[in-house]
Amino acid sequence: MPPSLVLLPVLIPLAAAPVALLLSARPRWQAGWAVGAMATSLVSSALLLAHVWRSGPPLVLAMGGWRAPFGIVLVGDLLSAVMVVMAQSVLLAGILYAVGSREKVVAYPTFYPLFLTLAVGLTGAFLTGDLFNLFVFAEVLVFSGAILTANADDPYGTEAALKYVYISLLASAALLLAVGSLYVAYGTLNMADLAARIAASPAGTSDQPLLGVAVALLLVTFMVKSAVFPFHFWQPDFHAAAPTAVSAMLSSVVVKLGVYGFLRMTTLLFPAQRPQIAPLLVALGIVGVVYGGLSAIGTHNAKRMLAYSTLAQIGFILVAIGWGTPLALAAAVIFTVNHSLVKSAMLMLAGFVASRAPVKTAAFAVVQGVGKAMPAAGALFLVGGMALAGIPPTNGFISKMTVFRSGVEAEQWWALLLLGVASIFTLIYVTRAFMRIWWQPPVGFTYAGKTFAADEIKAKPYGDRLLAPALLILAVLALGLWPTPLVDLAMAVSRWLGSPAPYIAAVLGS
């Protein structure tokens, strides 16, 4: 395989976005073009994953022909390839949902181009081997998501996007300060070169006082990116106000950028600082699991509930990364992939219900009882809910089981107890959402000045399409019934992350 294969998952959506903008006069062509571009891009990233998984060493592409420590490199190693395939599968499902959606924002001429640049930002951030380049791709990601949300049908979309842009600007500031600190201390921004130089001058020596500052700033950056507990306050507003197709992406794959950052920090860049980083990740993860679960029980809106649930599920991943044993890292990867599939499907189903509710919102008071007319969505929601709570035969069971097993192996009994208790919260809020939408009779409500009596509440006969969530739930069931390939892949990722030396050799040697 030529190393340029690693460029394709970034280049295809990047080249397709301006073309999609030119097609804005013909909305159907534009939608078809976006679906085609995303599908092609997914094929190229799947080829990348297949190649890297089979052969082992990463594909390294030196952009513009400048060798590794000097120029910018794209590195397609096993972790990046898994993240990219996961992200692009979910993004393709998101575009499919948007095609079948009746939201006004989908008819906006720059909707599909911005969706494609969202894919560029996410894919590029996963594949780049340069810290400053990571900043650039993260900005592309932030602004694509913010513009899409600011134009949402939800009346508070602009406010939520404003909040997100402010907090993201702070995260960007932290990332740039970390970049500057690392550059002045080590004279390089290439991640492999940086890892080699940090390992050569270990911590504790007084010659690099800026290292600790850089670690702290990078931690803050990635915590904002994946909405970890003290930096989470923008997330439920932003994810609930976004258009359904976009909120399904934001709450599933976009938050995984921070998870990817934590994996890279603890295994590649700062393995010597692991003992200081790991307890923080475990503690914040457990706080996130408990707080997210309790908040999800306390909300009155299905989309908000799922956004808070993301807070809890990211917590599980952080705890696994914090434990850091080979099995725990594999569990983190399995949980990351499974959560992306489940959460995007669940948000799409919540949006589907909202699109057919008498008033377009996912508030429980409004959507209560409207599910009677859509049993298929109810069945999909039930399976997705089982996956969120970790009940077999869904992939959520596999991910929770591997996390708990790695905890038993690492003998973290207190953490396991708290995680087990918090898992019950998931069961409570998912069951309650299902009961209220599909089981209980509708009650009258007043929303935005209009009053509806209980007997006038009927689901609209038209709404969004169910294809995309159905495909995702199919993947959820398939990965639950036949988990071996994913588990093998995650174990291979975990072995690859075991030592930073092969990564450094592959990048700097070429």
Partner: protein, 110 residues
């Protein structure tokens, strides 16, 4: 020179954070601008003391490091775009609530 740069960066950061926390939307946008400038100055200072000449101008004397200058250039472009977007959103939100006080923008709290 080092002391002067350090003082400039530090005071810019202080003013920026203070302004960003103000309730007036324009003041908080000014805070964002100042924060961007403080970071750019910090990035520039990481390569400023290796020599006074520009890179490749004169190979005999010590030359300044060109990489931070390239980083700053990129960061300026990005911060300009993000500032334009931020200002347009502040305009929409303040027009919708007919106020310039961020504390009165309360749509999401209910």
């Amino acid at each position: 020179m080092e002391l002067l740069t350090a003082l400039a960066i530090g005071s810019l950061f202080g003013i920026a954070v203070f302004q960003m926390l103000r309730r007036n939307v324009i003041r908080s946008a000014i805070g964002v601008i100042l924060l961007g400038n403080a970071i750019n100055l910090f990035l520039l200072s990481t390569g400023a003391y290796r020599g006074a000449n520009p890179a490749y101008a004169d190979l005999a004397t010590p030359r300044s490091d060109p990489l931070p200058q390239a980083l700053v250039l990129t960061a300026i472009v990005i911060s300009m775009g993000s500032l334009a977007f931020l200002l347009s959103m502040l305009y929409i939100v303040s027009a919708r609530y007919e106020t310039s006080d961020m504390d009165e923008v309360t749509g999401l709290r209910n």
